[in-house]
Symmetry: D2
Subunit: 371 residues, 4 copies
C-alpha cells in the first residue's frame, strides 16, 4: 500500500541539502522514494533569482550520487518546485515528498495524503502565457491526478505547477526566429506564465471549461481562478512540472491535506479555518503539540492589483525599490507564521488567478494522529 | 476639563495633508488643538527617507496658515513623529493628537487618554548614542509626563521619542571640529540613537537606574529594555521630540490606551492580549464594530539579531538587497493588520531595547464606549 | 537685450534650497528672473520618488516668499524639471535658469544661450502615452521655441519636457469613470509618457511628421527618435512642462549650448565631441580651467532593451532588486563624470525615443569666454 | 617553458560554464592546465549572493568530470575568485587562467605574464579581520609569488585574495563557543575581511612592515594601502585563496600585465595610463584592433567614505535601498567600459586599503603582439 511522507528540512544556504543527505546516508530515507520537492529559498523570487537553480543542481547531484543515475534524467522525473524569497519571518526550508510501499498500517485512516507528479513537454517561448501553455499544463495536471490514484476531483487539494517564463535572452532568440513572444519584459512574462498555469489547473479540475476563456482572459478576467492552484514561474525550467496533492482512499500513512481560499491579505479566518478542517485549533496560536502535527503549510498571495486592501491604499505596486511580490510574501507570511507559530512556511507570491482576486489560498498537511 | 482626541487620517502621498486641511477648514477641528502627530509615510524608513521631511514641511505650512504663526515656531512645539516604510499591507496614514478644553462629559470614565509632549535641546553629533543623549531624552520624557498630568508612572503606556542621528555629512563636520562621533555609518547611528532613546525612556519611567548602564550597554546589554518606549530616529530632527500617552484621572473623553510587550515577531498572543485589555475580542479577527472603536495601533518590532526566530533561521540580517528593518516591519504589520483587519497601523522597526530582545511592543488606543 | 544665465547649485537634501535663498537674499540673483529649474534629486527616480515633490514645494515656497505671489501661480509658470536618482558618482544639484534684461555686453557673441518655456493643459489619465499626449507636448514645445525667440529649428539643442504619468490610484479613478488608461502599471505608464514626450518634441522640431506614427509606434518603433528630446515623467505633474534651450542671435551673455547623440552607453566619443563643439578638450579629462567654463551637463540614457551592449549581455533588465533605470543612470553618469571631472551632471534614464535606440544624448552649456 | 594563457568567457547565468566545457571537450584547452578563475557573476555582491557558490559548484563539477578527480580536492587547489554584481554596463564573464608547458616560442618577449596561486589554512570566525588574518594572507601571498617564480616584488602587478567573512550564523556559533568575533554584522565583517586581505598583501609585497599597524588600523588608517591588492570576501570560503599575477622572465607567451592606482572614482587618467603602459591608446576609446589585444581588465573601487568626490556630495553611503558597493561598481565600470569599449570587465567594490583612499586600482593584461 502506497504511503506518502513529507519531511520538512532546513538549509543554511540554497546549496545546502546536508539534512537530506544525512537522512539518506543514515538509511532513514530511501533516495528512490523521493518523488517531489517543494521549497523556499532565500533569493529574491524574481527573474534573476539563481538560488533555485543552485538548489536544484545540488539536489540532483545528491540524488544522482545516491541512486547511481545521471542528474539529467532525475531532473525530468522529480519536480523540484522552489519559490524564491524568504522575506520577513520566513525560514528557508524544503519539503521532501516521498512515496514508499509500506505494509497496511495498524491504524488505518479512511483517506490519507496522496501524491502524483507529471512533466509536460517543453513550452516554446512564444507559447508562454497563451492557450497552448494552458493546455499543456492541464494535460500534465490530469496525468498527475491519475498518477496519484485520486478518483474524485474534490479530493484534490493542491496543484503545484512550475512554469517556464521568458527572459530577455529567450525573447530575443524567439524574435530572431520570427516568433512573437507575448512580452519581452521578464517580470511580465513570469506573471503570464503563472496565469497560464492557474488556468491549466482550473481546466484540469473542471473548475472552468475550454470555452470559458481565451488568450485575453489571462491577467485580465480575474473571476477565473482556482483556490487549489499554486503556480511558480522561473527562468530555470523549460517545461511545466506538476505536483498534485490530495487525499486518497488507497493510501496509507496518517497525513491529510486541506485547503481554503484566502479572500485578501488580511484573511486570518481562512488560515484558522483550514487548520480547523484538520482538527487543529489556533486560539490565537497553534499549540506546540498541534504545531508538531503540521508537516507542511503552502500559501499563495498577491498584492491587490487595485491598489487597496479593505478600502485603504497600499503602496506595494508603486514601489520602485522593492518588488511587489516581495512585499506581499513578507506580509502574508507574517500573518500565517504568527498563527502557526513557525516561520517554516511556503508563502509564494504571484497568485494571479490562484484563489480570489487580491487574496490567494492556503493548504496545510497535518498528521491525523493526535499527540 | 482637558479632553484628548485622536484622528486617523489617510494620505495620497507624503505631502498630502488634505484630509487634515478639510477638517480644520470645515471647523471640525481647531488647528490650535493639535499637539502631536504620529504617522507612517511610504518612504524606506532609512537615512535617505525624505518623505518624513516632506510631510513635516507640509504639515507645518498648513498649521502656519491656519494659525497665523511661523512654521519655525510650530516645529519646535508640535512633535511630528513619522516612521517611514509602509511595507506590505500597511497603509500610509497619520494620527492627529488633539487636546481640547471641553465641558465635563455626561458619561465620565474613571480615566481617559492623557497626552503630554516635550522637546529637548539639540543633541550634538558627538553625543548621539551616548549617555548625554540618554539623559537628554529622560529629562524630556519626565517633562512630557508632567505636561500630561499623569501622577503614577504605571499609567504611562507609550513614550514616543524621535531622536536625531548622524549622517555622513554631520559626522564629517563633527570630526572636522575635533569631535568623535560614535560612528559615521548612518544606519548604525540611527540604531544607537534609538538605543539612547529607549534608555532615556526607561530611566524616566524608573524601569532602570542611572547606575544600571554605561555607554557600552547601548546596543549591547539587551536585558535593559522598556516595553513602553517607542523610538524613531531620522536625519531631519536635531533635538529629541517626545510624546507621552497614558490614562489620566483628570481627562475627559472616552479613549483609553493599553500596551503589551511582544516576545518575538510571532507573538500573536501579545496582540490579542492588548486588545482584551481594552475589552476587544479577536477571534480570530476584530469585528467591524469593534474595529471602529480602535483609534490608533502603535507597534515596535525588530529582526532578531541572533538570526533565528523560535529556532528557525531567518534571512533578514543577511540581505544586501532589502534593509532588515523593512523586512521586519512588513512581517509584523502583516500579523497585526490580520488580527485587527486594518492596514492603517503604525509599525516601526528599530526596536532595540524597546520591549523584549527580538520582539517589541504594541499599544492600542480605543474608545471605551461600546457600539 | 535678454541675457540667459545658468546657476548650478548643490543641495544637502531634496528640501534644501538654501543656496538659492542666499543668492536671492544677497541680491546676487533677482527672484523674478528665475524662469526654469532642471535638477537631480537623490530619490529613486521611480513612481514612489517623492523627493521631486518635496523639492518643488520648497522651491515654490521660497520664490513665493521672495516674490510675494502664491505658490499655486508660480508652479504653473516656472517649469521645475527634476530627475530623481543620483546613483554612483552623481551629486544632487539643480540648475537655475534665469533671464535678465541686461545692457548689450561689451563682448558680444554671434549667438548666445536662449531659453523658452511653456506649459500645456493637463493631460487626462486616459490620454497619457497616446497621440493626444503627443500633440499636447508638440504644441507646448512650439510655444516654448517661440518664447525663446529662436527662428531656426536647427538652433534648438535641447527640449526638456516633464510629462504626467498614471499611478495605480489615477488609473483606478479613470477606469471608474469609464475611461481606458493605456496601463495601470505605473512604471509602464512612465515609459509611455516619456515616449509621448519624445514624439511631441520630434514633431515640433520637424524631425517627424504627423503621419509618421500612430499610437502603436510609441515604445515600439524605435527608429523614431529625437537627439534633442529629454523627457522626464513623474507622479507630481498633471500637465506637460517644457523648457527649450538653444542658441539665439538676439541674446546677450556668453553661454552657448551644443548637443550630440550617444550611440550606446559606452559612447565616450559623443561626450568628447559635444565638448569639442564648445571648444573644450578632454584628453582624457577636461582641465580644471575648462571645467570651470561648464555650466550644465544634460544626459539621457537607456538600458538597451535588447539585453546586449556591443554584443555582450547586460543584466539591467533582468534585475528584480534594482530598477533598470537606476543601473543605467549610474553607469552613464560614471562615464560622463569621469570625462568632465565633476559629478554635478544631470543624467536621466528613460530615454525611449530620445536619441539612438539603446543610447541617448548629451547636451552641454558652457561659457564662450576662455579663461 | 611555462606559458600563461587567459581566456575571457561569457555566461548566460551563474551556473553556465558551457563555454569552458566546449573548449575542454573540443581539446582547445586542457582541463589540467586550469590554475585559477577570476570572474564576475550577476548576484548582488553581498552576504546573500549565492551566485558565487553556484558558479563554483558548477565549475568544480565540470573540472571533476574532465579530470576524474573529486570536486572536494579541486576546490582546495584552484582559486575561484568571483565578485558578484554586474551593475550597469558590466557583462557576466569569467577569466580562466591556464598554465601550459609549451616549447619556447619563436617570438620571445623579455618578460611575460606569470601566475602563482596558494591557499591558506581556514580562518576562524574570531580571527576574521584581525592580525592573525593579515598574517595568514601574507604567508599565502608569499607562497603564491614563489609559485609564480617571480624574483622581484616590483614585477608583481596584481594580488587577488578571496577572504572568508562572518555570517550571522557563524558569528552566533563562535559566540556560543566563547569566542568574540569582531562583529556580527555580515556586511561589516566583509569589510574587515577585505581590509585584512589588503594588509596581508601589502605585508607580503614589503609595502608595509609588521610594526606599521595593529588591529585598530584596519578600516581606520587608510594611509596604509596597496595599489596591487584586490580583495574579495564572501560567505562561501573558509580560507584565503590567493592568485598572484606579474611579469616573469622565465615565462613564455605574449601576455603582459600592468597596473595603476586610481585616485578616485573619476580618475580616467589612471585608466588611460595603464593602457599606455601596455602600448594601447585610448583617444578617447581603445580601437577595436587594440581592444582585441586586451585579455583581462581588473578594477577595484570604493564609495568615498568621506561622502564627497572632488568636493561634491555623493549619496552612495546614505542609501538604504541600494548597497553602496553596488553604486560604486556601476559607476566605475561605466567609466572603464567606456574607455575600453567593452563591458566584460572585472570591477569589484570593497577597495578598503586597496589603492588610494576613495579610489582604487586598475590592472590590465594584454597581448604584446600588435595586430
Amino acid at each position: 500500500m502506497r504511503t506518502a511522507q513529507v519531511l520538512r528540512l532546513s538549509m543554511a544556504h540554497p546549496g545546502d541539502l546536508s539534512e537530506l543527505d544525512r537522512l539518506i546516508t543514515s538509511g532513514t530515507l530511501a533516495a528512490a522514494d523521493v518523488v517531489a520537492i517543494i521549497g523556499k529559498t532565500e533569493g529574491n523570487g524574481g527573474v534573476n533569482d539563481f538560488t533555485r537553480g543552485y538548489f536544484t543542481q545540488t539536489l540532483m547531484g545528491l540524488l544522482s550520487r545516491h541512486l547511481g543515475r545521471p542528474s539529467e534524467q532525475l531532473i525530468r522525473e522529480i519536480p523540484c518546485v522552489l519559490s524564491g524569497g524568504t522575506e520577513g519571518v520566513m525560514s528557508p526550508h524544503y519539503h521532501v515528498f516521498c512515496i514508499s510501499d509500506a505494509e497496511a498500517p495498524v491504524i488505518r485512516f479512511p483517506t490519507a495524503l496522496a501524491i502524483g507528479t507529471a512533466f509536460s513537454a517543453p513550452v516554446a517561448a512564444e507559447d508562454v502565457g497563451r492557450r497552448a501553455h494552458v493546455e499543456s499544463v492541464a494535460a500534465a495536471v490530469r496525468e498527475a491526478i491519475a498518477n496519484a490514484g485520486i478518483d474524485r476531483l474534490d479530493d484534490v487539494h493542491f496543484v503545484q505547477v512550475k512554469c517556464p517564463c521568458v527572459t530577455v535572452a529567450r525573447a530575443s532568440a524567439a524574435i530572431a526566429a520570427g516568433k512573437t513572444p507575448l512580452t519581452n519584459d521578464p517580470n511580465k512574462s513570469m506573471a503570464f506564465a503563472r496565469a497560464a498555469g492557474a488556468f491549466g489547473a482550473a481546466l484540469a479540475l473542471d473548475e472552468i471549461k475550454p470555452d470559458d476563456f481565451d488568450d485575453a482572459s489571462l491577467l485580465s478576467d480575474f473571476s477565473i481562478q482556482s483556490p487549489r492552484a499554486s503556480i511558480s514561474s522561473g527562468v530555470e525550467v523549460e517545461c511545466n512540472e506538476v505536483v498534485v496533492l490530495g487525499n486518497g482512499e488507497n493510501w496509507g500513512g496518517d497525513l491529510r491535506i486541506a485547503h481554503r481560499p484566502m479572500g485578501d491579505a488580511l484573511d486570518i479566518g481562512g488560515i484558522v479555518d483550514v487548520l480547523a478542517d484538520l482538527g487543529i485549533a489556533a486560539s490565537p496560536q497553534v499549540s506546540p503539540e498541534d504545531a508538531a502535527r503540521i508537516a507542511c503549510v503552502l500559501v499563495k498571495c498577491e498584492p491587490d492589483r487595485r491598489g487597496k486592501i479593505r478600502g485603504s491604499r497600499h503602496t506595494m505596486l508603486d514601489d520602485t525599490d522593492i518588488n511587489a511580490q516581495r512585499h506581499i510574501r513578507g506580509a502574508v507570511a507574517g500573518l500565517v507564521a504568527g498563527v502557526i507559530g513557525d516561520g517554516r512556511i511556503f508563502v509564494s507570491g504571484g497568485a494571479e488567478h490562484q484563489g480570489p482576486d487580491g487574496g490567494g489560498l492556503i493548504a496545510v498537511i497535518a498528521s491525523q494522529t493526535r499527540g
